[in-house]
């Protein structure tokens, strides 16, 4: 069993690398590939902070994908930028616009997208946690009750930024959007993303004092007499 584990962990990386090749312009995946060299870390850093000084940084990054993505790019990206919220569009999406926000502007951005009369993205479909190669992503799927708009928002937290024994933190939106409440609890439960200031952040699906976050890649299952013929377990 133990030999299997590393090989499984390697696979996804390979796949990601393959995925990156056809669309060489992807900034995100490119980062994932060359995360170790020091130069590659710089653009990643530049994209992250929401400080006004770095507001110019997303633009050069966003230029690169333009040849790949058709001209419709960035309706919501534009909208958010007009309101002073730095947003960066990802080229990963097929049809749906996907933007990356930094955690500290998330609440403001979602408030805006939900309530402004122009966009009205007022149906929060789901919040999913994703354990990517070197980030934990909190992914928000926004639809609208009244029009056909769709938007995917990603908040990426680099694994290297998360302190040992700590959980990646994202601000909670459950305080002003009730739909997020259970989704955030679930993501906390299964993926171990801590939603700061959540009104009631407890495990929702697993028992209350479950150990570990089952959907993370490094999760090892518990073995006891209820569950002992398990190929994925710790043995």
């Amino acid at each position: 069993m133990t030999d299997e584990k590393p090989s499984e962990a390697e696979k996804p990386e390979d796949k990601k690398a393959e995925a990156a090749k056809p669309e060489a312009a992807k900034p995100e995946v490119a980062k994932a590939d060359g995360a170790k060299p020091a130069d590659a870390a710089k653009p990643a850093d530049a994209a992250k902070p929401a400080a006004p000084a770095a507001a110019a940084a997303p633009k050069p990054a966003a230029k690169a994908p333009e040849p790949v993505i058709p001209a419709t790019a960035g309706k919501f990206e534009q909208f958010l930028k007009e309101h002073g919220i730095p947003a960066q569009r990802l080229p990963l999406s097929l049809e749906v616009e996907t933007i990356v926000l930094s955690g500290d502007v998330l609440q403001a951005a979602l408030r805006l997208l939900r309530n402004s009369s122009e966009v009205k993205l007022d149906l929060l479909l789901t919040i999913s946690g994703v354990d990517s190669n070197d980030t934990y992503d909190s992914v928000y799927h926004l639809w609208s009750y009244s029009n056909l708009d769709e938007l995917v928002i990603k908040v990426l937290i680099k694994k290297s930024d998360v302190a040992e024994g700590d959980l990646p933190a994202v601000p909670s939106i459950a305080n002003f959007w009730s739909a997020a409440n259970w989704h955030e609890r679930e993501t906390y439960d299964l993926m171990g993303i801590r939603y700061a200031n959540h009104p009631y952040l407890r495990r929702i699906l697993n028992p209350w004092d479950w150990e570990g976050y089952p959907l993370r890649r490094d999760y090892k299952q518990l073995v006891d007499c209820l569950n002992d013929k398990n190929p994925h377990s710790m043995r």
Partner: protein, 376 residues
């Protein structure tokens, strides 16, 4: 949530009652922690996860081909829809073109599935309201007929695994359509039969009229979808508002009510939806083109291109979405379900606040929650 209770100035002693997880009317294994003030519900805290079978984890650890068979269990009353949601999101990533005949067959079987789902809801809802072992015989009679039809095309009564990535599994024989037509001819009469018993039944009216009113603001806040929100006057039906598959070619209207819906409206919405489904299936039979039924080779080592996709279908309970991240390999990197029951259930504590104890089951039943769909 929990803090809200403490803010209220309480005069009487509160009583905390545990309902479930084993309770005949919780449709499985939901547990409700009720805080009661006398007969009035002060607060409800649903405790989920008694049926958490790790479906998402399974999605990451099974090959695409294997997981196709598993997802019927996500929402076992409408397995066609879960299969369809997964198939659509994978096709979206993969760029698979689904043959038109397969699309029509998909619409047909899933509308049939919608009927079976609503029929079961009808039966169990009446049990919830106290019509033990009398009424439920009627809807189950028709369900069995549909199950026989499903069995002929899929080989299973409930876990169909019929809609596959790229198409559908089998082409029905011509006799199958005759049987289906015969069923469709008699089914409207059967619905009339249910309605004669239930719709204007004074006891039923008393239990449901004006009970559990779901206002639009609350519904939107909690992301409620499906018949629940349509009966509250928001015309959100993916089949019309964001049409997918061949729904644009079919004629039907979104069923909504003008006012903000109560429990009875939610009942009525489902009855009307069953009638609507009959019409949709009829149109499909008429328009069914000939041709291929599968656009992707079904084999154990099937692969999906790298990328991510989100696709949703309108299941009997609301928007059922499937968010897939594929790395181009045999397994998915991440599989995420957007389950309508999970979101609809989260509104329960708003609906139950202040209602008498006896209404809990009437309101809870009317949301139509399926527990594996909540817990996965």
């Amino acid at each position: 949530m929990a803090t809200e209770i403490q803010e209220i100035d309480l005069k009487t002693d509160e009583m905390i009652i545990n309902m479930g997880p084993q309770h005949p009317a919780t449709h499985g294994v939901l547990r409700l922690l009720l805080t009661l003030d006398g007969e009035t519900v002060k607060h409800v805290e649903p405790v989920l996860g008694h049926l958490h079978r790790a479906q998402e984890w399974q999605g990451q650890n099974r090959t695409w081909f294997q997981y196709q068979a598993l997802i019927d269990r996500v929402d076992y009353l409408s397995g066609m829809f879960t299969s369809w949601a997964m198939a659509r999101s994978c096709e979206q990533i993969d760029g698979t073109v689904v043959p038109p005949r397969a699309e029509y067959l998909r619409v047909m079987v899933s509308e049939m599935n919608r009927i079976t789902s609503h029929l079961l809801w009808l039966g169990t809802y009446l049990i919830d309201l106290g019509a033990m072992f009398g009424f439920p015989f009627y809807p189950f009679r028709e369900r069995e007929k549909l199950f026989d039809l499903f069995e002929e095309i899929a080989g299973q009564r409930m876990m169909f695994n019929y809609i596959r990535i790229g198409g559908v599994l089998r082409d029905p024989k011509p006799e199958w359509f005759d049987k289906l037509k015969r069923f469709l001819d008699e089914f409207p009469d059967r619905i009339d039969e249910y309605e004669t018993i239930v719709t204007q039944n004074p006891i039923f009216l008393k239990r449901t009229k004006g009970v559990g009113i779901l206002t639009q603001a609350v519904a939107k806040d909690y992301g409620v979808t499906g018949p629940c929100i349509r009966s509250s006057g928001i015309p959100l039906d993916l089949r019309r508002t964001k049409p997918y598959s061949v729904y644009p070619e079919l004629k039907f209207d979104v069923i909504t009510f003008d006012k903000e819906g109560d429990t009875w409206d939610r009942y009525m919405a489902r009855i009307l939806e069953m009638r609507q489904s009959i019409e949709i299936i009829r149109q499909c039979i008429d328009k069914l083109p000939s041709g291929d039924i599968m656009g992707k080779k079904q084999m154990a080592g099937m692969r999906i291109k790298a990328g991510e996709g989100f696709a949703a279908v309108e299941s009997p309970r609301g928007i059922l979405g499937c968010y897939v991240i594929s790395g181009g390999g045999e397994k998915a990197l991440r599989f995420r379900w957007r389950n309508p029951s999970f979101c609809n259930l989260s509104v329960l504590h708003e609906l139950l606040k202040g209602c008498p104890l006896s209404d809990i089951m009437a309101i809870f039943g009317s949301i139509d929650v399926i527990l594996p769909d909540v817990d996965r």
